[in-house]
Symmetry: C2
DNA sequence: TGTACATCAGTGAACGCGCGTTCACTGATGTAC
DNA sequence: TGTACATCAGTGAACGCGCGTTCACTGATGTAC
C-alpha cells in the first residue's frame, strides 16, 4: 500500500520490479512522513496543505499521490507509524517476564518516555482521530485504542485482584484517569509550556515520572 | 466587536442606533454561535466550512461576516463564550467564603459538572488553541489559561502549606495532573466512549466525580 | 559485449472545485420633523 | 398626523484564490537477450 505496485502483466524483459517492501526506495517518502508528522501536529490535518508538506520535505506535491495515494493515505501512514511506536513500547514493557517491578511505575515510565521522544504522536491523535468522524477513526480504534486498552486494563485488574492496587475503583475509569494524567502535559505543552515554565525534554521526563508515580500511588492526602 | 457598529457621522434623522449591546439582535447570531460550537468541536476549525455553519444555523454565509467579521472572529466568539462559562464556574466555586468543604472535592465537582454540561468546550480548546500557533492563542492564554492557573494554583499551594494536602509535590505538575485527569475523558469520548462503554451525561458525572476525588485523595496503593 | 526496453523515482503544469469573503441590494422598523 | 429617511437584519450572487489531485512526461537504472 505504501510503495508503488504498478498493475501490469509480467514480462521477462526490462528492469524487474523491486523487492515488495522496496527497501531501496529513496528517502523522499521518509521525508514526507517526517514533514507531515511535524506539520499535522502543529497545524492540524485540515489546516495543513500538501504543498506545505511537500515544500518542507523538499519534493513535489505529486509525490504524495505517488507514495500515499492521497492526503488521507498520508495521514494514515503517519498515524500508523506513531501508533506502532507507542504500542511497541507498551508491549515490551507489559508483557515481559511475569515477576518484575510493580506494574504502575513500569507503565508510567515507559509511556512517558515514549511520549517524550515523540510528542507529536498524542497531538495528532487528539486532533485528528478524536474529533473527526471518518472511516480512518474506526480503523484507528481497532488497530490502536482497542489493543492499548486490552494491553493495560487486564493487567490493572490483575493487580487490583491481587491486592497490590486498591480494588474499590472502577477499572475503566482508572484507565482513563491514568492515561489522562500522563498524556495531558504533552498535549497542552504548546499552550501551557510558557505559562507553567516547562518544555518536553529529558529533564521534564525525569521530574514528571516520579511525580506521577507518587501521586498515583499515594494520592494528595497527607500521610497521617 | 460582536455587533455591527457602522462608522458614519451621526445624524438626528432616521432610526437611531440600537443600544450598544444590541439586546434585541435577532437570534441568527445565537444560532451561528451554537452551530459553530457544535461543528468546530466535531470537525475542527479548518475542517469546517462557513457554508456548513451557515446551513446548520439556517442563515446565509454572509451573516458570518455581518456578525463576526470573518471566520477567525467566529472562532474567537465561540471560544470566549466557552471560556467564560468555565472561568465563571471556577470563580464561583473557589472564591466563596473561606471556610467551606475541602478545596479538592469542590474543584473537581464544579469543573466536571461544567464540562459535562458543555463537553464541546475542551474539544475546541484542545484542537484549535493548543496546536495552532495564531495570534488568537496568545489572547487565549492571557484571557483564560493564565486566569485559570492563577485561580487554582495559589489555592492548591495554600492547602499544601496548611497541611491539608501533602506538601512534597511540585505545584505546577500537580495542577497539570489534576486537570488532565479531569478533562481527558471528555476529550477522548468520541474515540473511547464506545470502547469503554460510557457517554458524557449526568450518570457519568455521578460516577466520575467520586472516582476522581477518591483517586486523587488516596491514590492507588491499597490501604495498609 | 552491446543494446533494447520495462520500470524506477520523480517533475511540473494544469484541472476543476470549494473555500472565505465581498458587494449591491431588500423589505421592515421606527423616530424626527 | 403623515412621511422622509437612516438604520436594522438579512439575502444571493459573484469574486479570486488555494486546495487536492491528475497527467503526460523524464532521465537513470539495470536485467534479458
Amino acid at each position: 500500500m505504501a510503495t508503488r505496485k504498478p498493475a501490469r502483466k509480467p514480462s521477462r524483459r526490462g528492469r524487474p520490479p523491486a523487492a515488495p517492501a522496496a527497501p531501496l526506495a529513496g528517502d523522499a517518502r521518509r521525508r514526507l512522513l517526517d514533514a507531515a508528522a511535524r506539520l499535522f501536529a502543529a497545524g492540524g490535518f485540515a489546516g495543513t496543505s500538501l504543498r506545505q508538506v511537500a515544500r518542507e520535505a523538499d519534493v513535489t506535491p505529486a509525490m504524495v499521490s505517488y507514495y500515499f495515494r492521497d492526503k488521507d493515505g498520508l495521514l494514515e501512514a503517519v498515524l500508523t507509524e506513531g501508533v506502532e511506536l507507542i504500542l511497541g513500547a507498551l508491549r515490551g514493557a507489559l508483557t515481559g517476564p511475569a515477576e518484575q517491578d510493580p506494574l504502575l511505575p513500569r507503565f508510567v515510565h515507559v509511556y512517558l518516555a515514549t511520549l517524550t521522544a515523540h510528542p507529536w504522536i498524542p497531538r495528532i491523535i487528539v486532533q485528528e482521530v478524536i474529533s473527526r468522524d471518518t472511516p480512518l477513526r474506526q480503523l484507528f480504534v481497532d488497530r490502536f485504542a482497542r489493543q492499548a486498552v486490552t494491553l493495560v486494563a487486564p493487567r490493572l485488574q490483575d493487580e487490583m485482584r491481587a491486592g497490590r492496587l486498591r480494588g474499590d475503583l472502577d477499572v475503566r475509569l482508572t484507565v482513563m484517569s491514568v492515561i489522562g494524567m500522563c498524556v495531558f502535559p504533552y498535549i497542552a505543552e504548546p499552550l501551557l509550556g510558557r505559562l507553567l515554565d516547562y518544555r518536553i525534554d529529558p529533564d521534564f521526563l525525569e521530574a514528571f515520572v516520579p511525580h506521577t508515580v507518587a501521586l498515583l500511588e499515594d494520592g494528595l492526602r497527607p500521610a497521617p
